[in-house]
Amino acid sequence: MALRDWDLWGPFFFIVFLGLTLSWSASVKKSEVFAVAFALLAAGAVILTLNVLLLGGHIVFFQSLSLLGYCLFPLDVGALICMMENNVILKMIVVCVTLAWSSWAAYPFMSSAVNLSRKALALYPVFLMYVSVGFLTIAID
């Protein structure tokens, strides 16, 4: 599987790019926005992986970090589109579509890693992280 060749350059680039895009779109406190976005995504990926491991799931730590980072790509595209225009309704539609795309990409990996009775427990934090990033993208103007 392609997952065996995990790497962290892609996730690093996507996280920094998302932080930069959000920071560019912000009108005040730009550096704080970047710091919050970067910390949220980086720490979030680590914590999500630890969550699956603590629930008794079977994943490889760096494979999971790599996958969660690469699944940020749709949100990157969404943030770029939202930076370039100001209509709130359009932003919401774009963010919803990219959020669904990211979740759909991360879902098979995360759900297959844990026991069936704990699937929702493992998937909910992934959903929470992507929704919070999506909300940041909409709200920052």
Binding site: A26, S27, V28, K29, E32, V33, V36, L50, N51, L53, L54, L55, G56, N115, L116, S117, R118, K119, A120, L121, Y124, P125, L128, V131, S132, F135, L136, A139, I140, D141
Partner: protein
């Protein structure tokens, strides 16, 4: 009568095991995994065969039990913390729903065999996210409602304030209650306190949604109702846990007041 019922039983599911002389033998072997919670990893319903295989390995599990107090190598390995996350989805949902009705103080008896830290971590994280995002949205709505001007901009400081406030409260308050109770004589379990306080925050999550309504008096009513519900949950459970010395009533009152103070802090800081 009994002979006929015995001959009607299908025994195809007993193939491979010792053919049951009576039905009770099969029931006895099923009771063992339920009763003994010390076996690691515990036996789920779905891992029946594997679980029985683990049951026979008595020695390693006993070593595991004695390991944490003796050396520190268990601190940095994941497997020593897995015991606090040994819950299924339906268990978590059941505990969540039971934390919404604070009338009976029996939460500790529900979590006694299996306290979990999953609820604490993810309920507080959800609450931090909700406070930051809905707080910003609420200030936007209030400005639109009163001024009509659009000088609002997203305040990232809300995320920092929410994280420090909620995580700090959720970690420090149960710890201080545990150490205080231990100092005063009765023993207290830190994990159970963390679990209970964690689930007490679940009421604030729909409250954050309701506080979006830009009517000031309604916001105060909502937060007071939610605050008192959450505080009653904490106070009743703490009372039933202590159930002993009379002079510990002050702790129950203190817990109630602290939770009300948290509710008022939420209203004043994030939904002004």
């Amino acid at each position: 009568m009994e002979e006929s019922s015995y001959s009607n039983l299908s025994t195809s599911h007993l193939l491979g095991s010792v053919p049951a002389v009576t039905n009770e033998e099969k029931k006895a072997s099923y009771e063992v995994p339920e009763a003994n919670m010390q076996i690691f990893p515990p036996n789920n319903g779905s891992g029946g065969g594997r679980g029985r295989g683990y049951q026979t390995l008595e020695a390693p599990t006993e070593e595991f039990e004695q390991q944490p107090p003796n050396n520190w190598s268990g601190v940095f390995s994941i497997s020593s913390y897995t015991q606090y996350f040994n819950v299924d989805t339906d268990v978590v949902i059941y505990r969540l729903i039971s934390s919404f009705y604070p009338v009976t103080g029996d939460f500790f008896s529900k979590i006694d065999a299996n306290p979990d830290l999953y609820g604490l971590i993810w309920i507080t994280t959800t609450l931090v996210f909700m406070l930051a995002s809905f707080g910003n949205w609420a200030t936007y709505l209030m400005q639109k409602h009163s001024d009509g001007t659009t000088s609002w901009s997203f305040d990232v400081g809300y995320i920092n304030a929410a994280a420090v406030g909620i995580y700090g409260y959720a970690v420090v308050v149960p710890m201080s209650f545990k150490f205080l109770l231990q100092y005063l004589g009765s023993n207290a379990s830190l994990v159970r306190f963390w679990c209970m306080w964690g689930y007490s925050f679940s009421i604030f999550i729909p409250t954050a949604l309701l506080l979006l309504i830009p009517v000031e008096i309604l916001r105060w009513i909502i937060i007071l109702i939610a605050g008192s519900a959450s505080s009653c949950f904490v106070a009743l459970n703490l009372k039933s846990y202590i159930e002993g010395a009379n002079d510990l009533k002050m702790m129950v009152v203190a817990a109630f007041l602290l939770q009300m103070a948290l509710a008022i802090f939420i209203k004043v800081w994030f939904f002004p």
